[in-house]
């Protein structure tokens, strides 16, 4: 009975997906769409699968409890289990087939088309004069409050990491201090955004510039508020001794969320505040922007190089371990220097600690 039901459903469904009346080329469902919306087509699989799962579960329970099969003795009482298994497997297979069809062949654009959409979404239309910002918009200078906000958020990322590492090492004072600073930075950020909003020379309703500006930064702002609350919850739970140095998943999640908010801000800063307000026709402005970008990239590379050098020579990433390692290296170094003191054949370059000296020099540069 169930296999008959399954077969008839399959038939109806495959007729639905393949229009046989267009018999010349066997045009499939994947090649045309009757309406312009991306809708998921009505599907029999959720309901059918719930029935097959019911048969499978109840059949198995009946079998486990040693009851005789109410329908037949075929299969030693396993009939319902087998029917349930086969129908469930079939439904899942057909359901997955439809999901794959939908995901691969419907409503998806090729990469060049997606690229074209992105390109045209970044090109202001003729109606607003083909330029961005549109004429007469008093834009916000990216290197005033927004730059301060960038520094605030990046610093809060650093302090929350400090709090986390303190927590892992059982340093309660450091954890609480780090979190207080982090929350202070977060609140300051929100306050600065509030000042910026109340002083903006445009509103969310007076044109496409204000709409997109407040949409993007407003969504980010809401996420900042949520992140602040998230970290606050972690903070109060640490204050109340709810967590241990090993078990604090909620706090870790709040940190991850905070970093996500931070990264989104970096994109907003570059796109909304800096790039979108650039005086595209001013050579000096573009040159200055490019210099900031290149110097920023260079300094990031230098910091990475320093970090890599410290790690490759000490094998450590925790700051206090690195500090301890350096103290030990310094002690060993001074003993060796002392031992070699007064010897005429002493040459720095023949000694293994030459590398250590170099590392000290490099480390000093980064402190």
């Amino acid at each position: 009975m169930f296999s008959a039901l399954l077969m008839s459903t399959c038939d109806a469904y495959s007729r639905y997906f393949t229009d046989k009346s267009l018999n010349s080329q066997e045009i499939g469902r994947s090649q045309f769409q009757a309406q312009p919306f991306h809708l998921v087509t009505p599907s029999p699989w959720p309901l059918l699968t719930s029935f097959t799962l019911l048969i499978l579960t109840s059949g198995t329970v009946i079998y486990f409890n040693g009851y005789a099969n109410p329908f037949s003795s075929f299969g030693g009482g396993l009939t319902l289990v087998l029917i349930g298994f086969v129908t469930t497997a079939s439904s899942i297979t057909l359901w997955f087939r439809d999901v794959v069809t939908e995901g691969t062949f419907l409503g998806d654009h090729t990469f060049p088309v997606q690229k074209a959409y992105l390109h045209s979404s970044l090109a202001p239309t003729v109606e607003i004069g083909s330029q961005w910002p549109p004429a007469g918009i008093p834009v916000i200078n990216a290197f005033e409050l927004p730059l301060l906000n960038t520094i605030l958020l990046l610093s809060s990322g650093a302090t929350v990491t400090y709090a986390h590492h303190s927590l892992i090492q059982g340093n309660r004072r450091g954890t609480i201090l780090g979190l207080i600073i982090t929350i202070a930075f977060a609140v300051l950020f929100t306050a600065c955004q509030g000042i910026e909003y109340s002083n903006a020379g445009f509103t969310i309703a007076d044109g496409v510039y204000g709409s997109t500006f407040f949409f993007s930064t407003g969504f980010h702002g809401i996420h900042v508020l949520v992140g602040t609350i998230f970290i606050l919850v972690g903070f109060f739970r640490i204050l109340s001794y709810h967590v241990t140095d090993m078990h604090h998943l909620g706090f870790e999640a709040s940190i991850l969320y905070w970093h996500f908010v931070d990264v989104v801000w970096l994109f907003l800063f570059v796109l909304v505040y800096w790039w979108a307000t650039l005086y595209r026709n001013s050579e000096s402005a573009t040159a200055a922007g490019l210099k900031y970008f290149l110097l920023g990239g260079l300094s990031s590379a230098l910091i990475l190089l320093g970090t890599a050098l410290i790690y490759s020579n000490t094998g450590l990433t925790h700051f206090d371990s690195v500090q301890l390692g350096l103290v030990l290296i310094g002690a060993v170094l001074s003993i060796m220097m002392h031992q070699n003191h007064g010897k005429s054949d002493f040459k720095m370059e023949h000694h293994p600690h030459k590398k250590v000296l170099q590392n000290f020099t490099i480390l000093f540069l980064f402190i």
């Binding site: 090109a123 003729v126 004069g129 083909s130 330029q131 004429a135």
Partner: protein, 77 residues
Amino acid sequence: MAEIELKTAPSDFRFPTTNQSRHCFTRYIEYHKCLNAKGDGSVDCEKFARYYRSLCPGEWVDRWNEQRANGTFPGPL
């Protein structure tokens, strides 16, 4: 009787798409920039006028002329 020569704006590699709205708009701006630089009635600017008139719908040109007269034209002139 002299032959009347009919021709539209030449294709421009800056505007490779089928939709030529931006081409029309750019030629309109180039014409007015040219007038600003070389003075009204300059012969050098006439080709830009021919281009934008071939490409732009009449209503658009009327609207833009009106906007320039009111000082509300959004383009970079």
